[in-house]
């Protein structure tokens, strides 16, 4: 099975090609901006490396978040476009799951965290099991302080993986049972591993139905009426 994995949900973008879960080419970089330019050149680079053509792919895995809005959008639209053009399955994965997969657990309760800014983080927790981790429940969006309280009240020894470096200074002070560790970001290479199983079990939605996983509140409408009604230019379109 020839797989492509695209990860642009966090500041560390990466692309990987794999035969099953075995990586045959990958490219990555850490930068908050310019996901679009990265993806195009990274795809070219990876396909060149192994001499594959896109139509040889059997499935595409995409990180749908939580994470950076622009990154997720760029990655998802690229992946969706490719999947549609090639007629192959698109497997959506969560950044938190991808991070947690390779946590060096040491039998600790794993907390996977992604920075979504505005003082909030996306988190999910996982139990260590032989050969991997099992998620406790759906991911949550919590304020940083709330996350700290959750960790504090966790009776188990915890391991925080993911973007903990973005947490405020002193966050871990006093959290004696909690350690922080790697990986810091989700990697396309790890996505291959998760995707293989999903493809085998045919656990994926229709490519058009794949949506970003933002976790944010339902949409708030901007009250333009209030602003546009007054003034002599009210009916005009902006210059």
């Amino acid at each position: 099975m020839k797989l492509l994995a695209i990860e642009t949900a966090t500041p560390a973008s990466s692309v990987a090609l794999g035969i099953g879960r075995d990586v045959v080419a990958s490219a990555e970089r850490v930068e908050r901006r310019g996901h679009a330019a990265f993806i195009v050149s990274a795809l070219d680079f990876c396909f060149d490396q192994v001499g594959w053509r896109p139509h040889e792919l059997d499935a595409i895995a995409i990180d749908v978040g939580p994470g950076l809005y622009t990154g997720i959008r760029v990655g998802l639209s690229t992946a969706q476009g490719l999947a549609a053009a090639l007629g192959v399955p698109l497997v959506p994965l969560s950044s938190l799951d991808v991070i947690a997969l390779h946590a060096a657990t040491h039998r600790r309760h794993v907390w996977s965290v992604v920075d979504v800014r505005r003082g909030e983080v996306a988190v999910a927790s996982y139990q260590p099991v032989p050969g991997g981790v099992v998620k406790d429940g759906p991911p949550q969006l919590v304020e940083v302080e709330q996350f700290r309280a959750i960790l504090q009240s966790d009776p188990e020894d915890g391991l925080v993986v993911g973007d903990w470096a973005s947490l405020p200074e002193g966050f871990f002070r006093g959290l004696h049972r909690v350690k922080s560790g790697r990986p810091q970001f989700p990697a396309a290479e790890a996505m291959l591993e998760l995707a293989v199983g999903r493809v085998d079990r045919e656990e994926f939605p229709h490519a058009d139905e794949v949506r970003p996983l933002y976790l944010r509140e339902p949409d708030v409408t901007i009250n333009w009426k209030q602003y546009r009604e007054e003034g002599p230019w009210a009916e005009q379109s902006p210059a």
């Binding site: 809005y69 409408t221 901007i222 602003y227 002599p232 902006p238 210059a239």
Partner: protein, 152 residues
């Protein structure tokens, strides 16, 4: 302390923007308020000049966001007029874009709830064909910053 300045033409509005540049640094957010054609883009253009950006600033209305990296500090200039929802605003990733510099947002008052509490609000009121009153209103932590030198 609100600073109120009068402008009798586009040149004046640009000059106010230019002068404000020396008060701004990395991480600062300026929200522009004022009706269509009030002079928000003109003000942003003046600010860019003051920041040492040589590229002319044009209305980002269609692009929504433009970034100018040629000055002392990068300037991110956004216009949210075409947005209808807050999620679209999120997608612009403005704070990510502007983290390393100054962010100025036209119609920023309409999305203030999604903006940092600490910002400078600039209101441009149209008082005549070429007359404007420009108000610099510090919000949040901006209140402890002095804008006295803005008044000549």
């Amino acid at each position: 302390m609100t600073v109120e300045l009068s402008s009798n033409g586009e040149v004046d509005t640009r000059a106010i923007g230019r002068r404000l540049a020396s008060f701004l640094g990395r991480g600062d957010v300026v929200l522009l308020a004022g009706e269509l054609g009030a002079g928000k883009t003109a003000f942003a253009g003046g600010l860019a000049e003051g920041m040492g950006i040589e590229e002319p600033v044009i209305s980002p209305s269609f692009m929504l966001v433009r970034r100018y990296a040629g000055g002392f500090t990068p300037l991110t200039h956004a216009d949210v007029y075409r947005l209808t929802t807050m999620n679209e605003l999120e997608d612009l990733d403005l704070f990510e874009e502007a983290r390393d510099g100054v962010l100025i947002v036209e119609w920023g008052n309409t999305v203030a709830s999604a903006m940092p509490d600490d910002h400078l609000r600039v209101e441009i009121e149209v008082t005549g064909t070429n007359d404007r009153v420009v108000r610099l209103i510090p919000c949040g932590a901006w209140q402890s910053r002095s804008l006295k030198e803005m008044v000549e």
